[in-house]
C-alpha cells in the first residue's frame, strides 16, 4: 500500500443526500478509517426531523493539524459527494468554489413539494448536470443507483459512491484501507460491498 497524504489541510468534504439514502454509512466508513490512521476528523451533520424525505448533509473536516468546526464556512468545500443531483447543486450554492470537485449520482429523487403541475416540477436532468459541471473544477457523474441495481441491490449505491470518492484520489485512502471498516459494518455482505467499492473506483478511472 502506498502512503497517501492529504491533498490539502484541512480537506473539507461534504456528503449530501436524501434521508434514507445512507450517506451516514459512507461518512462513518471514511471517518473511522481516518481516525485510526491518526487524522483529526470532525464529522458534523444537519438532517430533518423526520426519518425520510429531507436533505441530510454530512460535513467532514480532515486535518493533521487541528480540530475543525462541524460546519464549513461558505465556499469552503473541496469535495462534494452528491447522492442526488438537486442536492449536489444545493450544496454548491452555499459551499462550492471554483476549485470544488463534485462526484454526483444522477438519479433524481422527487420531493413532496413536486406535484408535477405547473407550480413545481423536478428540473431537466441534463440542464441540472450542466449547472453542476459549470460550478465545479471537475465533475464525475457516477450512475451509482443503476450500477448498484446491476450488482444486485440499489442499497449498494452508497458504498459504490464511496469507491468513486476514493477512486478520484481526493482522500488519503485506498480500497485496502477501507476493508476493516467495511468488514465490521457488513460482516455478512462484505464481498458484495467490496465488489461495489471496486466498481465505484473503476467508474472514475481516467
Amino acid at each position: 500500500m502506498t502512503v497517501k497524504t492529504l491533498i490539502k489541510d484541512p480537506l473539507n468534504l461534504i456528503i449530501v443526500g436524501v434521508a434514507g439514502q445512507g450517506n451516514v454509512v459512507i461518512s462513518l466508513l471514511i471517518c473511522n478509517t481516518l481516525v485510526e490512521k491518526g487524522y483529526l476528523v470532525t464529522f458534523g451533520q444537519t438532517y430533518p426531523s423526520q426519518q425520510r424525505g429531507g436533505t441530510v448533509i454530512n460535513y467532514i473536516r480532515i486535518s493533521r493539524e487541528m480540530e475543525y468546526s462541524p460546519i464549513l464556512p461558505y465556499g469552503y468545500a473541496d469535495v462534494i459527494l452528491g447522492m442526488e443531483p438537486v442536492e449536489t447543486l444545493r450544496m454548491l450554492r452555499q459551499y462550492g468554489n471554483p476549485g470544488t470537485i463534485t462526484i454526483v449520482n444522477p438519479r433524481p429523487l422527487y420531493s413532496i413539494d413536486i406535484w408535477g403541475g405547473a407550480a413545481a416540477e423536478y428540473p431537466d436532468l441534463d440542464e441540472l448536470l450542466t449547472a453542476i459541471r459549470s460550478l465545479s473544477a471537475r465533475t464525475w457523474v457516477v450512475k451509482a443507483t443503476e450500477e448498484a441495481q446491476q450488482l444486485g441491490s440499489p442499497i449498494l449505491a452508497n458504498v459504490l459512491l464511496t469507491g468513486a470518492l476514493i477512486g478520484t484520489g481526493a482522500l488519503p485512502l485506498d480500497a485496502e484501507s477501507l476493508e476493516p471498516a467495511l468488514l465490521e459494518r457488513f460482516p455478512d455482505q462484505f464481498d458484495a460491498n467490496m465488489v461495489a467499492l471496486k466498481r465505484g473506483m473503476e467508474l472514475v478511472k481516467p
Binding site: 451533520q45 426519518q51 468546526s69 465556499g75 447543486l89 413532496i112 406535484w115 408535477g116 413545481a120 459549470s134
Partner: protein, 635 residues
C-alpha cells in the same frame, strides 16, 4: 468501531458527542442512567444501556423526563453515581423537581445532561437551558469539543460529590451529534453497593436551604476560577476578545483563522458557565478594548459578563461590548462559522468575500432555477399517513369543520401537506389532549366543531394520561386518537412501556393502552388505519357521539421497523391503461394531495408512476386512486 466500554486508555476513538458523554459517565463509575428519548440527546442512554449488563450497571428508558430525573436522584441518595439525560424540553418539564432537589442535596455524584437544539431543527422550539442552571442554582458546564464532552461529564460526578449538589452539563446539537476524535481514559473496576443512610437530613427548610445553596454555588465559583475547561488563545494584548463556549468555540477559532486575525483577536473559551468564574473574566475585561460574545442560543454569557462589568470598581476600564444586544449576532437560531466571520469582519473592519463574485452570481442563478424544495415528510408506508388520510376524509364527511390538536412525534407532520394539514395546534408532549380538554367544554358557548386530540403511543404514556383522566372527570367532549405504531420512531425506535422490552433488552410487562383507557370507563375502539373504510366509519361514529372523551387507537407498526424485518407486503405498480391523467378529473390526487414520496408525476406521459427505489409496497395508494389504476399484488 470498537464498543464504547473498550479498555484502551490513551486510544483515540471517533465518538459522537453523545457517545463521549456516555463514555465519560462510564469512566466516572456511573451505576444508574435514566432518560426519555429526545433529539439531540437520544444516543446517550442507548450507548450506556448497550454495555450496562457487562459493566454491572443499570440503564432505563423512563416514562418521561420527570421520572428519569427523580429515579436518578433515588440512586444518588443511596450512594450510586447517577445521570439523567434529556433534550431541552425535558429540562423544562423537570424544573419543579430540580428546584427542590437543590435544597436537599445529593449523596453520590448526580449529573443532569441537557442537550439543546439551537435552530429547533429537531424540536418544537429552541430553548436555552443554561438559564435553568442559573435560575434554580445548578453548577453548569458546557463542552467546546468532543474530548470535553467526555472529560467534563466524568469530572462533574466528582464536583457533584464535593458540593453534595446536582450538577448540569449543557450540550448543543452540533456537539451532541457531531463526531470527533476523543482520547479515552480509564474505566474504574469497583463494585457498587447501595444503601440509604437513615440519619441523613432530607432537606433544609427555606430560606436556610436557599442560603446553603448560595454558599455551594460560591464554592463552585472558586473551583471554576482555576478550571482547565476555561482557556485563552491569542496575543497578549488583543484588540478584541471573543468570549465564547460550546460549539461556538470551534466556529470562533475557525473564523479568526479564515480572516487571518490571529495577531489581533483573542478568544476566551469558557467551559464553566455558571457560576461565572468572575475573577478570571474580570482579569480580561480590564485589559481589552472590545469584547464580542458568541454563543448559542440566548445571550447567557453576554448578560452574565455585562452584569460583572457593572460591578467592577469605579474607574475600572470597561470594554465596548458586541454580541446579540448590539445586533452583531442573532439572538435566535443555530450559529455557524459564517455568523462569526461576518461579525468579526464588520467590527475589525477587514474585507471578506467568501468566493469570487462571478461564481457567486452563477451559483445563485443556477440554484434559483433548479433547486427544488425538499420538505421532510412521513416515510413511504407510514401508518400515520393512513391515519391522517382517514381523519382528513372523516372531517370532510362530518362537515362541522372539525380539526386535530396535535402533539410531539412523527405525526407532528400533520401540520404540513404530508398529513394533509389537519393538525391545527402544536405545543409540547401531551398538549394535544390537554388543549382538547378546554375546547371540549365549549359547547355551552355554541362551539360545535369536533376535536380530535392526537398523541403517539410513547406520548400517551409520557404525558397524555393525566389529560385523559381530566377529560373523564370533567366530561370534556373530544376524541383521543392514539397514533400507535408501537415505537418511539422519530428519535430512533426506542422501546417504551407498551413495547414489552426494556432499554437493556430484557422482557417487560406491557402497559396496555386500551385496558388503561377502559378502566376509566371510556369507549375505546381499536382500528388498523390501513383499513381505510372501516376506520373512517368508526371515527365518524365516535364523532357523532357527545359527552366525555372517546378513544380510538390507530394501531399499525412503524414501517421502518417492519422493513428491517420483512419483505414488503405488496408489489405496487400503475396500470397505464387505467391512469387517464389529465382526463381523470382527480387533478393528480395521488401525487398532488396524497403526496407519498414513492409516487411521481410523469409530465411527458401525463400519468402517475411509482418510484421503485422509494415505494415501500404498503399498497395504501391503491385505495386513493379513483380509477383503480394503482395495482397492489400480494407478494
Amino acid at each position: 468501531m470498537p464498543a464504547i466500554d473498550i479498555e484502551a486508555p490513551g486510544m483515540a476513538m471517533l465518538l459522537m458527542g453523545n457517545e463521549a458523554i456516555a463514555r465519560g459517565a462510564l469512566e466516572a463509575g456511573i451505576g444508574f442512567a435514566a432518560s426519555y428519548p429526545g433529539t439531540p440527546s437520544s444516543e446517550i442512554l442507548p450507548a450506556i444501556a448497550e454495555v450496562a449488563k457487562r459493566r454491572g450497571i443499570y440503564a432505563e428508558w423512563s416514562v418521561n423526563e420527570m421520572v428519569a430525573m427523580e429515579a436518578a436522584t433515588g440512586a444518588s441518595l443511596a450512594g450510586i453515581r447517577a445521570m439523567a439525560s434529556m433534550k431541552q424540553n425535558g429540562v423544562q418539564v423537570i424544573t419543579d423537581f430540580l428546584g427542590n432537589l437543590v435544597m436537599s442535596g445529593t449523596v453520590a455524584g448526580l449529573v443532569l445532561v441537557s442537550c439543546d437544539d439551537p435552530g429547533s431543527r429537531n424540536s418544537s422550539n429552541e430553548q436555552d437551558t443554561r438559564f435553568a442552571a442559573k435560575w434554580l442554582g445548578l453548577p453548569l458546564l458546557e463542552p467546546g469539543n468532543f474530548q470535553e464532552a467526555k472529560d467534563m461529564t466524568r469530572w462533574l460526578f466528582d464536583l457533584s460529590e464535593e458540593l453534595k449538589s446536582v450538577c448540569m452539563l449543557r450540550c448543543v446539537s452540533k456537539i451532541s451529534h457531531t463526531r470527533g476524535s476523543v482520547r479515552l481514559g480509564e474505566l474504574p473496576r469497583k463494585e457498587l453497593k447501595a444503601s440509604y443512610d437513615l440519619t441523613r437530613i432530607p432537606r433544609l427548610v427555606n430560606p436556610v436551604g436557599h442560603a446553603a445553596l448560595l454558599k455551594k454555588l460560591e464554592q463552585a465559583r472558586e473551583i471554576f476560577e482555576i478550571s482547565p475547561f476555561n482557556w485563552y488563545v491569542g496575543p497578549d494584548s488583543p484588540e478584541l476578545l471573543i468570549i465564547t463556549g460550546g460549539a461556538c468555540w470551534l466556529y470562533s477559532r475557525e473564523a479568526v483563522k479564515v480572516l487571518k486575525l490571529e495577531d489581533r483577536v483573542g478568544i476566551l473559551k469558557l467551559g464553566t458557565l455558571w457560576p461565572l468564574p468572575e475573577k478570571l473574566v474580570a482579569s480580561y475585561l480590564v485589559k481589552v478594548p472590545q469584547v464580542l460574545f458568541f454563543e448559542e442560543i440566548d445571550p447567557f454569557l453576554e448578560q452574565s459578563v455585562m452584569e460583572l462589568a457593572a460591578s467592577l470598581p469605579p474607574g475600572s476600564p470597561r470594554p465596548v461590548f458586541y454580541g446579540k444586544r448590539s445586533g452583531h449576532i442573532n439572538a435566535y437560531g443555530e450559529q455557524d462559522p459564517n455568523a462569526i466571520i461576518r461579525a468579526l469582519a464588520r467590527i475589525m473592519n477587514v474585507p471578506y468575500q467568501f468566493r469570487g463574485g462571478e461564481y457567486d452570481k452563477q451559483a445563485e442563478e443556477a440554484a434559483q432555477k433548479y433547486v427544488i424544495m425538499r420538505s421532510g415528510t412521513l416515510c413511504p408506508g407510514c401508518p400515520h399517513k393512513a391515519t391522517f388520510w382517514v381523519i382528513k376524509n372523516a372531517l370532510k364527511l362530518d362537515g362541522r369543520y372539525g380539526f386535530v390538536t396535535g402533539d410531539i412525534g412523527c405525526y407532528t407532520a400533520g401540520l404540513g401537506p404530508g398529513g394533509f394539514m389537519v393538525v391545527k395546534t402544536i405545543y409540547c408532549m401531551g398538549a394535544g389532549a390537554g388543549v382538547a380538554n378546554g375546547l371540549g367544554q365549549l359547547g355551552r358557548f355554541g362551539f360545535t366543531q369536533p376535536v380530535i386530540a392526537a398523541c403517539g403511543d410513547s406520548t400517551f404514556y409520557h404525558a397524555a394520561v393525566p389529560a385523559l383522566i381530566n377529560g373523564v372527570y370533567n366530561n370534556a367532549n373530544f376524541i383521543l386518537a392514539v397514533f400507535d405504531n408501537s415505537a418511539t420512531s422519530m428519535t430512533g425506535f426506542q422501546p417504551h412501556p407498551g413495547t414489552g422490552v426494556t432499554a437493556m433488552g430484557d422482557p417487560a410487562r406491557v402497559v396496555s393502552i386500551e385496558a388503561l383507557c377502559r378502566s376509566m370507563g371510556v369507549r375505546v375502539e381499536i382500528c388498523d388505519p390501513f383499513d381505510i373504510k372501516n376506520t373512517t366509519a368508526t371515527l365518524l361514529d365516535l364523532m357523532a357521539m357527545d359527552g366525555g372523551p372517546r378513544v380510538i387507537i390507530m394501531r399499525h407498526g412503524c414501517e421502518l421497523i417492519r422493513a428491517r424485518r420483512e419483505e414488503p407486503p405488496y408489489r405496487v405498480y400503475i396500470d397505464p391503461a387505467r391512469c387517464v391523467g389529465p382526463n381523470c378529473g382527480c387533478d393528480r390526487l395521488c401525487t398532488r394531495v396524497f403526496a407519498c414520496t414513492g409516487l411521481r408525476w410523469n409530465r411527458e406521459k401525463g400519468k402517475a408512476e411509482i418510484d421503485e427505489l422509494i415505494c415501500s409496497g404498503c399498497g395504501l395508494c391503491t385505495d386513493v386512486c379513483p380509477q383503480g389504476a394503482i395495482i397492489r399484488e400480494a407478494l
